[in-house]
């Protein structure tokens, strides 16, 4: 059952229009919210004049800073899957983030909310609200914001909001002893998740029980519940957050937003259900983005290509507020070495406030930046030493014999990073062989003589997934034989209802078709931590496994009593228990549940139900890894990048559902492709967004994406009972590094690509100035 491509349980409702996303929610008497948002990146609100808006038919009311005491509440400073243990951070001073305030710090920040009888009336009302602003100077660049004389974005706080540092080995000695030292700056742009469904929230107050029901697009429904319970001053159990069908998340929906408070507060205040759904322009203006990151590196290495030491100073634009500590920077640092040895490392990182929305994880969450930095360093070493880029990689590889390999890094759960049960050599050599590296190098030289420019690039990634603290699952056999698997996480498309049912079916001996996986509702399980950080398969998967085994144990004990035989003689198969020697003695699961419910023997098995709840606590993260190879050709006239070959070789442990695994990779690949080829959240110097719609922000289309060949490995791991690793964030990490490397290889030594996305004008600039005939054949050397 595990490892089979069973039919996805989610598909039927999604394919027939029966999904239920937040914007599909309609309650009788529902009101609709529209937000007035600031057109200025930095301003003080002098006055809000709602009179014209209130006069519009259908507009119920307008609220803004000071209207209700709950609007002074701050969004949580640390949210969701931020650090659970000691991190590298030694300074962290984060400004509070009230729901509505008079000090505006980014374009798109909420200024007022209009409540109306219809979404159209709400939009009319938003247009009619008059706001008088005192415009202040804006900072959208970390270097400006870090300057000693820079104006402060928040008067009480330094723009240098966070700092981290870590080191191991003797970096200074290596820098002075090594034969070669290079310095580079690598820039990675801010990215937007652009899930096709925007954010949304619907809220309904129940005056009878004093409880709140919320439908949300969140990836962290328990964290939303807990914060709203504080804001609304009611018990967590009186806040029910339902996050059922979510149209993609990719991290952006794992954050907490002002609208998450505004909707329920107004639902209670007005005693009517309310709904808000984000428009795409609101998504581009107001939702979180990944935050631009700059990497200043100094690398010491020998003439044979071996790295001696790396010194990194990292600058992270964290936006006007920060809810994720220095998680993204620390992820970059902890994934930076990817498959390679860095014997001595010193890192320093700054989190810098800017006049943009908050930076928060976007699929990969710092890993893409790590792979890009590391692979660009390896290519730079190849360029400086004259070695082939593949040879440089081979000489620095962490080999099987080196494992368990402790790099000297410490993960954000406080556990030292350790590579084990991994095989980077095999991934690399498979890539080289299946990707026909040698053949492409040969063709590259031949074709260059004909004026064709092709380039070959290799990129690698590691992905630490499955971070704790834990997840749980409750498995119960019901009287009609159906099995309910209740979980503390929700899905944004990951196929939990399918893969977790497969795990249950195998462990319990149940029919896959009889299992219903129920998540995305705080009433299902009391505690959960959320979908993000590639943690569900490892945490919830193993919890389902453990809970299913516990139910199975109860089944065996009770079957022995009911069938009057020894426990050792009980067999379980396809949703039935029977005596090994007498197939006549058989009971279906439903019959067992009925028989057990009134059986006194259940007193010593936790009560009348064939039910068990278990939590899985992973000791630390588990590491997935992969290597990508790209062969590109540049069109000499237009600079267009054609991808002749793309190979994706990976290990993510035992696949629960191979088709779903490949689906995760191919989706992630497309996002990584976008980051390489054009995705960029850009701001003008005055803080105006230059990427405010899908007309301005590049998202890959079906015509853009090349055919990708996937090669799957499953290196076994004893890290958890199911032997699984993470895959959710494996896809996007290596493509930007790989594509940048291949494009640079095609362009030759006239340029060194050091930023993402790769700029078309850089490609065209080289092509214009250097006809193909001038470029030496044979890679970057």
């Amino acid at each position: 059952m595990i490892g089979e491509n069973v039919r996805r349980k989610e598909d039927a409702r999604f394919l027939t229009g029966r999904g239920r996303y937040v914007e599909d929610i309609q309650f009788p008497g529902m009101l609709y919210l529209g937000f007035v948002r600031s057109p200025h990146a930095h301003a003080n609100i002098r006055q809000v004049d709602p009179s014209a808006a209130r006069a519009i038919p259908g507009v119920v009311d307008v609220f803004w800073a000071g209207s209700l005491p709950e609007f002074d509440e701050t969004l949580p400073a640390i949210f969701g899957t931020a650090s659970t243990g000691p991190s590298y951070v030694d300074q962290l001073e984060l400004p509070p983030h009230p729901v509505f305030q008079k000090h505006i710090t980014y374009v798109g920040e909420q200024v007022a909310v209009v409540v109306a009888e219809s979404p159209y009336a709400a939009a009319d009302g938003v247009e009619a609200v008059k706001v008088d602003y005192e415009v202040l100077p804006a900072l959208t660049d970390w270097a400006q914001a870090m300057a000693p004389d820079a104006p402060r974005i928040h008067p009480e706080f330094s723009n240098r909001a966070a700092h981290l540092a870590h080191s191991y080995g003797d970096v200074d000695a290596a820098m002075s002893e090594a034969e070669m030292v290079i310095e580079r700056r690598y820039e990675t742009s801010s990215l937007k998740s652009v899930a096709i469904e925007g954010r949304g929230v619907a809220a309904r107050w129940d005056g009878n029980s004093g409880s709140m029901e919320i439908w949300s697009t969140t990836q962290m429904h328990y964290a939303v519940r807990d914060r709203l319970s504080q804001v609304l001053k009611i018990a967590p159990d009186n806040v029910r957050v339902i996050a059922r069908d979510i149209g993609g998340g990719f991290g952006l929906k794992g954050a907490f937003y002002p609208e998450d408070i505004v909707a329920p507060v107004l639902a209670r205040h007005l005693n009517r259900p309310v709904r808000w759904t984000e428009t795409r322009i609101e998504h581009m203006l107001s939702s979180n983005h990944s935050g631009r990151q700059t990497h200043d590196v100094k690398v010491a290495f020998e003439r044979d290509g071996r790295i001696r030491a790396l010194d990194l100073v990292l600058y992270k634009e964290i936006g006007a507020y920060c809810h994720f500590e220095m998680m993204l920077a620390s992820n970059t640092i902890n994934h930076l070495p990817t498959h390679y040895r860095i014997p001595a490392l010193r890192v320093e990182g700054w989190g810098i406030l800017t006049n943009t929305p908050t930076a928060s994880p976007y699929r990969g969450a710092g890993r893409q930046e790590a792979s890009f930095t590391m692979d660009r360093i390896l290519d730079a070493i190849a360029r400086e030493t004259g070695l082939d880029p593949l040879e440089v990689r081979r000489r620095n590889l962490v080999r099987r014999a080196d494992m368990p390999y402790r790099s000297g890094l410490i993960y954000r759960d406080g556990v030292p990073v350790c590579y084990d049960h991994l095989d980077f050599e095999r991934l690399l050599e498979t890539t080289v062989e299946k990707g026909d590296y040698a053949g492409w190098r040969k063709r590259q030289a031949e074709w260059r003589a004909q004026g064709r420019r092709i380039g070959i690039g290799i990129g690698s990634y590691v992905e630490a997934g499955g971070i704790g603290p834990c997840e749980g699952a409750s498995v119960a056999i019901q009287a009609n034989g159906r099995i309910a698997v209740k979980i503390g996480v929700n899905s944004q498309g990951q196929s939990h209802e399918t893969t977790l049912a497969q795990i249950c079916a195998k462990a319990l001996g149940a029919d896959y078709t009889e299992i219903d996986v129920l998540g995305g509702d705080t009433k299902m399980l009391r505690t959960g931590f959320g979908t993000g950080a590639s943690r569900v398969a490892v945490n919830t998967g193993n919890a389902v496994h453990l809970a299913s085994l516990s139910v199975r144990k109860k089944l065996v004990t009770m079957a022995a009593i009911l069938l009057k035989c020894e426990e050792g003689d009980i067999k379980i198969e396809s949703g039935a228990v029977y005596a090994r020697d007498n197939p006549q003695k058989i009971m279906r699961f439903g019959e067992m549940a009925l028989a057990c419910s009134r059986h006194p023997a259940m007193a010593s098995h936790g009560g009348p139900d064939l039910e068990a709840t278990e939590f899985f606590y992973p000791p630390t993260v588990v590491w997935s890894s992969g290597v990508n190879l790209a062969v590109v050709e540049l069109d000499a006239d237009s600079g267009r990048v054609d991808i002749l070959k793309y190979l994706f070789v990976h290990d993510s442990g035992e696949p629960l559902h191979p088709q779903v695994v490949e689906g995760q990779l191919s989706g992630g690949f497309a996002q990584g492709f976008g980051a390489a080829m054009g995705e960029r959240v850009a701001y003008a110097a005055d803080g105006q967004p230059l990427s405010a719609s899908l007309l301005d922000y590049y998202v890959p289309r079906a015509t853009d994406i090349p055919d990708v060949e996937y090669i799957h490995f499953a290196f076994p791991t004893p890290d958890n009972p199911l032997g699984i690793k993470a895959v959710g964030e494996s896809g996007p990490n290596a493509p930007p590094a790989t594509l940048a490397s291949a494009i640079n290889d095609a362009l030759g030594n006239d340029i060194e690509i050091t930023e993402l996305p790769v700029r078309w004008n850089h490609i065209v600039g080289v092509l214009r100035n250097a006809p193909a005939s001038r470029i030496n054949a044979g890679g970057m050397s």
Binding site: T16, E23, Y120, R280, S666, A670, R680, S693, R701, A702
Partner: protein, 186 residues
């Protein structure tokens, strides 16, 4: 705001509606008629999540006023499955090939595929990619969507003998030329 009385035939059923002149067709479908399978994913006609069939043409219902659809035959995702709930061959192919993850772009993808197969039953990969350029998927990377469309096309070809095609071919099909491939990048 002026109100207009319009009649739509949606998934074989007649609907008489009174709408504001400015009402977009997608909002009439979703908010007034409860057909929430058609989704809104952008403000600028980029994403295609709202694609429906309007008189047998795949149309982005976020960019047409409801009054413009007066008298038209509409098929939405809710009208694709058979009377007894059996999946349409396109839906079946998307499921078999894992051509959907979160499901949000899926109704639009299915409706665009419906037109694609009606017009270009022999479409090769490049043509399929081209025909789906107006539908953005952020989950799948299109990898399995392409496979699903190929499967549905093969299925339609193999069952074409002696049977009515799933979708009637439009009398005057659009030109089949492939536009020059867009350049990726900023």
């Amino acid at each position: 705001m002026s109100a207009h009385d319009i009649t739509l035939h949606i998934n074989g059923k007649r609907h008489d509606c009174r709408v504001e002149a400015r009402t977009l067709l997608v909002h009439l479908l979703r908010e007034k008629l409860g057909l929430t399978g058609t989704h809104v994913g952008c403000d600028t006609t980029q994403c295609g999540a709202c694609t429906i069939s309007l008189d047998d043409r795949a149309v982005k219902s976020c960019t047409i006023l409801a009054v413009q659809a007066d008298g038209c035959d509409i098929v939405t995702i809710e009208g694709m499955a058979g009377e007894n709930g059996e999946l349409h061959a396109i839906q079946e192919a998307f499921s078999l090939e894992h051509g959907l993850q979160c499901g949000f772009c899926t109704p639009g993808m299915v409706m665009s595929t419906r037109q694609l197969l009606a017009r270009y039953p022999d479409a090769e990969v490049d043509e399929i990619r081209h025909q789906l350029e107006g539908n953005i998927c952020r989950c799948t990377g299109y990898h399995n969507i392409i496979k699903a469309v190929q499967r549905a096309a093969a299925q339609a070809r193999s069952s074409a003998d002696g049977r009515e095609p799933a979708v009637t071919k439009h009398a005057a099909p659009y030109p089949t030329d492939l536009h020059q491939r867009r350049h990726h990048g900023s």
